[in-house]
């Protein structure tokens, strides 16, 4: 995940200033302010949303598909995380006459639950995240940033080129400043995160809101399906963040951070 770094002396002021120097290296294109601002707003809000989101998740670390899912329904998966794993303190089971395969039971103990602050913090982060993501995607589509920098060319999509990029990454042979554009895997991961995972995160989040449910009923995925997809998006995002930060470190942490903070 390399930031692009054009080495084009002809357009560069810095190039002219350093004309007498033997190492005339200049960066022609500054990273625009709107990318830097939205990047860091998204970083801050996503970290906050992840911390509060994990806190919310461990209150009920079970995932289901469909509309209904609870302690009396078999989960798709129960993750062995946190104090509520295996929490099942039920008594007084009774079937409903109206639908005998559905039951009720009373819970005899209170689970670990920090959702009072975690939920409010999650939605505070969500407000910042949604607004920053909208600003980013709106500007990136309008300025053709995504089309120019992230959509692979036909040449890049040849099998040999794909294989070469994969092999380079596996051998950690990824160097910064090797050209003006992102690598193929880098482009693909940015596209998937920006156009699929992050928007899906927002939509499945909306899908869990009881008030918005009235509005989005026609495209309702099912409450628990939405929650499960929300969680799977989180898992993909964690993976992305790990690889993204690793690539920043591998390709020169100080230079990359300077570029994303100051633009140079």
């Amino acid at each position: 995940m390399l930031p692009d770094e054009k080495r084009d002396l002809s357009k560069s002021h810095a190039g002219k200033m350093m004309a007498g120097s033997m190492e005339a290296v200049a960066i022609a294109e500054r990273r625009p302010a709107w990318i830097r601002w939205t990047h860091w707003l998204i970083v801050g809000s996503v970290i906050t949303a992840m911390i509060s989101g994990i806190t919310i998740f461990v209150a009920h670390p079970r995932l289901y598909w469909g509309q209904a899912g609870n302690g009396l329904i078999e989960p798709w998966v129960e993750l062995p995380i946190g104090p509520n794993y295996g929490f099942s303190p039920w008594e007084d089971h009774r079937a409903f006459a109206i639908r005998p395969d559905a039951i009720t039971a009373s819970r005899t103990a209170e689970p670990f639950n920090q959702n009072a602050w975690a939920r409010s913090l999650h939605f505070l982060a969500a407000w910042v995240f949604v607004l920053a993501l909208l600003a980013y995607l709106g500007t990136a589509l309008f300025t053709r940033h995504i089309a120019r920098k992230m959509v692979p060319s036909r040449a890049e999509l040849r099998w040999a080129a794909i294989r070469a990029d994969i092999v380079d990454h596996l051998r950690l042979r990824v160097v910064a400043g090797h050209g003006a554009s992102y690598g193929l895997l880098q482009k693909a991961s940015y596209l998937v995160i920006l156009l699929v995972v992050l928007p899906l995160m927002v939509l499945t989040g909306f899908n869990m809101s009881p008030a918005l449910a009235a509005l989005i009923h026609p495209i309702d995925l099912g409450l628990q399906t939405a929650r499960t997809i929300h969680f799977l998006c989180f898992a993909v995002l964690i993976l992305f963040v790990i690889v993204h930060v690793a690539m920043v470190v591998l390709t020169g942490f100080r230079r990359q951070m300077r570029s994303m903070i100051t633009g140079r």
């Binding site: 209150a59 899912g69 609870n70 959702n115 009881p210 449910a213 009923h217």
Partner: protein, 248 residues
Amino acid sequence: MIPRRSFLAGLASVGAMSLTGCDAQPPTYGSLLRTADLLTYNAQRLLIPRTLLAPEFDVADISSFPAIGTTDPGNPHRSDYNAEQGPIFDRHRRAGFADWRLRIEGAVARPADLSLDALRRLPRRTQITRHICEEGWSAIGQWSGVPLHELLKLTGASPTARYVYFYSYDNLVDCIDMVDAFHPQTILSYGFNGSDLPIAHGAPVRLRLERQVGYRSMKFVRKVVVTEQFDDFRRKGWVRGWSWYAGI
């Protein structure tokens, strides 16, 4: 030094004014978290038509349904037992709620004490809806009861009323705004899945508030008070810290 709390409260009211004007706000917000809750409240009130219904389902969709929180306010061996209300509830339960009355008072022309039979004789709404718990689980059940707007009409609620408060036998207090109070699906429910409401689910009568998260649907309701004021009870007791508005 500027007190941080009042600064953030100020921030909250600025956020409120920018969206809907400052007159209709519950003045209960004094932190950054509450500011976001208030923003969500205003945005959802602005975007979602007032009478738009929460999704309703079929009998075949009815699912298993946990009873959590207080499951018996009359049991003195439970930690959530209330020494004042618990014995009263226990007495009503032993009598099959025959002498039980729902008290409706406050900014109403005709305060009332309604028996379970009186509530059953009022117009009834039956709805199969989704209960969404803040913990992350959900369940589908069928609720029957009297729409709250029928009770407000019956008792002659003041046109200047702004909130409806509910008091419970496990000694909770909560309130909703008039948008929720007049919503067609906001009912005081006495029937669950075709039977009388079980004790564990809030007998004899519980609130159903279908466009908010489950903890706003109070169980074991004993008193309804219509007011023109917002009382910030959420700074006290166990409800401290939970968002007053939970449409998300």
